[in-house]
């Protein structure tokens, strides 16, 4: 059966949804039965801006396998980006401390 288990994380970013671009501050992540996908279970992410009420969202439903692959590619992209941009994300992190 479906569950209400949700992993919530704060984030800084923007996303393009039904009404165009919007700032997002939260991702709700869960692995459960989908709304749209034909898969039995999906890794779903809802990007929202809870600071503005959280009414709009950008949603994805991914297979577990592709979600894991995506995690790897995100980390790979960040790593290569660090190299290409002189560890820009690392220096930002230091500057923010």
């Amino acid at each position: 059966m479906c569950s209400y288990i949700v992993e919530k994380t704060a984030l800084v970013g923007s996303a393009k949804g039904r009404k165009g671009w919007m700032r997002i501050d939260t991702a709700n992540v869960y692995y459960d039965h989908p709304y749209y996908s034909t898969l039995d279970h999906v890794l779903a992410i809802d990007f929202t801006n809870e600071g503005e009420g959280g009414r709009d969202r950008v949603a994805v439903e991914l297979s577990a396998e592709s979600a894991r692959a995506l995690v790897e590619r995100i980390l790979a992209a960040l790593a290569s980006g660090d190299v290409a941009h002189g560890r820009a994300s690392a220096s930002v992190a230091v500057a923010a401390e």
Binding site: M1, C2, S3, Y4, V6, K8, N28, Y30, D32, H33, P34, Y35, Y36, S37, T38, L39, D40, D46, T48, G54, R55, D56, R57, A59
Partner: protein
């Protein structure tokens, strides 16, 4: 008279828990006559298109069926049900008491229609199956209940209980007041085959009128033709079980009532 009869499906307004006014999807046979009612309880992802198809299927088979939108309080009528479902999920779901109030309101709506026989069934899928079990144990006026693969009827870890879901449905079994049909896939992870067996043991212990059907080669949501989980053979047999059950307890024959 044609072999197939027409039906009318529409979105209606109903009064749910605390008298709150919300939307429900309602379908009924168009032919003259009186019909038993069925409340359809949707799953956690929300008031989805498949749920409306189930409502129309019931109307096609001679029932006045209604599916209350359990998340109507979360947004306006023009907002997508899946967006409302996402918000509800992020907020930890809906409270059992609120759902029972909404189901009661849907039953009241059905009984108030001029086409009503007064007999009422409830059917739910996934979390709606769990809600159906709860309704069978806590609400008055249900004549037959169908739990399709409702998980968490048994709660092994008390930490899984909370303000919104304070009681494990299994602990209310003694109060069950109507016949129960259970439809389960043996490959389901929630409820597992073991949990289904344990639920059956409790129903047996309290001498309840129930029948369980378990399907090999099927897991969760195997009626849902929009998912890879769909198992046509098992689903067809399952639907036959559902209609046999409702016909037995809600009407001697929906068709004969319609012909009166």
């Amino acid at each position: 008279m044609s072999y197939y009869q027409g039906l009318q499906a529409e979105v209606v307004s109903f009064r749910g828990h605390n008298g709150d006014q919300g939307e429900a999807y309602y379908a009924r046979p168009l032919r003259a006559g009186k019909f038993p009612g069925v409340v359809v309880i949707h799953h956690i992802p929300g008031w989805c298109e498949w749920t409306t198809e189930v409502v129309r299927k019931l109307a096609h088979h001679g029932y006045a069926a209604i599916s209350p939108h359990l998340y109507f309080r979360e947004g306006g009528p023009n907002e997508s049900p899946d967006d409302l479902g996402a918000r509800i999920r992020a907020a930890g779901g809906v409270a059992d008491a609120q759902v029972m109030g909404d189901v009661t309101g849907a039953m009241t709506y059905l009984r108030a229609q001029p086409n009503a026989t007064g007999k009422i069934g409830v059917i739910g899928f996934c979390s709606g199956g769990r809600h159906t079990y709860l309704a069978a144990c806590t609400l008055n006026g249900i004549d037959a209940a169908v739990d399709c693969w409702g998980g968490n009827v048994i709660v092994d870890n008390p930490k899984d209980l909370n303000d919104k879901r304070p009681v494990a449905p299994i602990d209310l079994t003694e109060k069950m007041s109507c016949p129960l049909l259970g439809i389960f896939g043996n490959d389901d992870a929630n409820p597992t085959a073991d949990q289904v067996n344990r639920t059956e043991a409790v129903l047996k212990k309290f001498g309840k009128n129930y029948e369980f059907h378990r399907y090999n080669g099927a897991g969760h949501a195997f009626f849902n033709w929009q998912r890879d989980a769909y198992r046509p053979e098992q689903a067809m047999d399952g639907w036959r079980k559902v209609f046999d059950f409702f016909n037995r307890y809600l009407a001697t024959s929906a068709a004969s009532i319609a012909a009166e």
